[in-house]
Symmetry: C2
Subunit: 210 residues, 2 copies
DNA sequence: TTAGCCAAAATTGGCGCCAATTTATGGTAA
DNA sequence: TTACCATAAATTGGCGCCAATTTTGGCTAA
């Protein structure tokens, strides 16, 4: 007798509805401010009512959607103050471990980072906004992982989601995208040179975007 | 016709079950590692099954309890690595805004902090461990609020909960409690003297506890 | 006496129904 | 014509039941 689980025909059902909704919020499919009706979500993601409600509750906990009792849930719109404050938190955390990043980076790591930065550059020309967004995420994740503090990496990825409801739209102009690209390479150069101060500077400008 | 809601005999039912369980975890009533059976919680807090499950799901999201599919939920026990990493995050955040704290602190704020520190001292002698814990929380909350970054204050209170499942037991010895008390006053003195560097130093030692 | 297996009890977790509240609609009176 | 109210439709959210899985207890055989 095999103890293998029966498994429905499609194994891809393993992903949670929460992630699906989250993804649609981040890619801007579900616009900031719009109301999320349970019936619609139920049909859109082919899932049951309780699943939808659990997902909405989770997203409300993460403050990605806002809950108004007896009215429903709508996509959260962070105001300017919150966005600034969250950026400032990121600056503190990411510059705070800059010296660790520099210390831990092997030549192999630097090589990998260059590859990820190039991938970002390529996506500017050839990719969709979502692919660009994901390439950016991958670069930053790899970079930050060098600090050795796993909890910090998790925390930053978590609060990065809070910054903007539709992070795909974070780069308003082509000029800003290319500036981001340059900053990526600047960060790598700073790491390669072992210059933590330069890295901190590049990170700060990159996050504050000015 | 009055449109007042009927309201059950006890209005105190306004609080969420999540907070009740959270409180019992933090005060150590629900010990780290112990299993949280839905039936028990249902009876203990006089609430329904769905309420219990929602609360457990929320606490699992906050990583205060761990969920094992088809097995249940048990109070999370952070290992040494995680505890250290989280402490390091707190050091980065709280020392990072030390200069802001110093800059924004009015003499009235300093007075309030002295009062809260004294309250902590009083609770060492007269209070229960829980009261001591809460006095400590109040002091740190007031201090950190001076940085002006509301999001950061919320984030720190949130991750502080993750540090230890039973934070009441964080002070193992009487000597350590009194050391904490001295550090509190040290922080206030640094703020009063406008010495951000001294404040950073005191905060770092206080969080790392060594 | 001990190891392994089978059955029963307990626990988790998915799903749907129905009441309560809110929003939309249409009709009526000023 | 417009403002207001009452009725109807739609949506949210609470609650309980039952299936699936796991654990426990006891029995049998080596």
């Amino acid at each position: 007798m095999n103890k293998l689980k029966p498994r429905g025909e499609n194994d891809a059902t393993a992903v949670d509805v929460t992630d699906l909704i989250l993804n649609d919020i981040q890619t801007g499919v579900l616009a900031p401010g719009s109301w999320l009706k349970q019936i619609d979500l139920e049909r859109r993601y082919q899932c049951t009512r309780p699943e939808v409600r659990r997902a909405l509750d989770r997203l409300a906990q993460r403050r990605l959607v806002e809950h108004v009792p007896n009215r429903g849930y709508h996509v959260f719109e962070p105001d300017g103050r919150q966005a600034t404050e969250i950026s400032e938190i990121r600056v503190l955390l990411e510059t705070g471990v800059a010296d660790k990043v520099v210390a831990n980076a092997s030549s192999l790591d630097i090589q990998a980072l260059r590859s990820l930065a190039s991938r970002f550059d390529r996506m500017i020309l050839e990719g969709t906004p979502i692919q660009l967004y994901e390439a950016n995420l991958a670069f930053h994740h790899r970079l930050l992982s060098l600090c050795g503090n796993e909890e910090l990496v998790n925390l930053v990825t978590e609060i990065r989601q809070r910054t903007s409801s539709a992070p795909v739209a974070q780069w308003k102009t082509r000029a800003r995208i290319e500036q981001s690209s340059r900053e990526h390479h600047e960060m790598i150069d700073a790491i390669a040179a072992g210059d933590a101060a330069a890295l901190r500077d590049a990170i700060t400008r990159h996050i504050r975007q000015n």
